[in-house]
């Protein structure tokens, strides 16, 4: 059960291994890494991206990620979990975010992992500014599909509306 918000990149292998190290009660570890793509849908068109800058709200980000992590532990029997989210400037191919969940059984690990990223995407205060290869920088617009995806995990009507 850990969250981190950092500018620097993370080592995927090190992060994941630390979650299961020295434990014999974990049957499955599910993880998801989000990466910067060199193309992004901007104002209804797929455009080439040269870099991306993630702004966030220091303080509230950590608070929200901790809440999301705690919620995952409330809902599933997890042995370990991790959220690492970067901010600042990143280039295509770089890692942005890592979420992982470990449990005795794979169902719980998968569902909790999916929950972590889905809720993070609609709740954690991050904003992407994409540097277009041809044109000026643009703020990414939130996607309705992310709200709908997060709503699947909702237990109260307005959970996903934030």
């Amino acid at each position: 059960m850990a969250i981190r918000v950092q500018r620097e990149d993370f080592d995927l292998g090190t992060e994941l291994k630390a979650l299961t190290a020295g434990r014999n009660d974990i049957g499955g570890l599910a993880s998801f890494v989000g990466l910067v793509r060199d193309m992004a849908p901007i104002e209804g068109e797929v455009q080439e991206i040269s870099a991306m800058t993630l702004e966030h709200y220091p303080g509230m980000t950590e608070k929200l990620l901790e809440e999301i992590d705690r919620e995952a532990h409330d809902r599933w029997p997890l042995q370990a979990s991790l959220i690492v989210h970067r901010y600042g400037r990143m280039e295509p191919g770089e890692q942005i975010v890592l979420v992982a969940a470990a449990s005795a059984h794979r169902d719980a690990a998968f569902e909790a992992c999916r929950f972590l990223i889905d809720w993070l995407k609609t709740k954690a205060p991050f904003w992407k500014l994409e540097d277009l290869k041809h044109g000026e920088a643009k703020w990414v617009e939130a996607r309705d599909s992310d709200d709908r995806t997060a709503a699947r995990w909702s237990r109260k009507p307005d959970d996903a509306a934030e």
Binding site: G34, L54, E55, H56, Y57, G59, M60, K63, H85, I96, V97, I117, L120, K121, T122, K123, A124, P125, F126, W127, K128, L129, W139, V140, E141, A142, E162
Partner: protein
């Protein structure tokens, strides 16, 4: 009250952070945004489409009817796009 603006709200208001003293008749989030619109044309433009804005009071998501007071930290920002 400490106000924070993120993403394009920062660009439009021309301001990342400002300290304001609330008028006595501003006691809710909705009253706060209505009042902020009168502070400058930039604020008016940034806050024109209220559906496009999320508000956090003391780092927790808030609704239009929630109370605000002078000691609060209030952040205004677009829907989040992290992950």
């Amino acid at each position: 009250m400490k106000l924070l603006y993120f993403a394009w709200l920062k660009t439009k208001t021309g301001c990342a952070e400002e300290e304001v003293e609330l008028p006595g008749d501003v006691t809710t989030v909705a009253e706060l945004t209505a009042w902020l619109k009168t502070r400058s044309p930039g604020h008016a433009a940034a806050l024109a489409d209220e559906k496009a804005i999320r508000i956090a009071v003391n780092q927790a998501y808030a609704k239009p009817g929630d109370r605000v007071s002078d000691g609060d930290e209030v952040a205004l920002f677009p829907p989040v796009t992290g992950g």
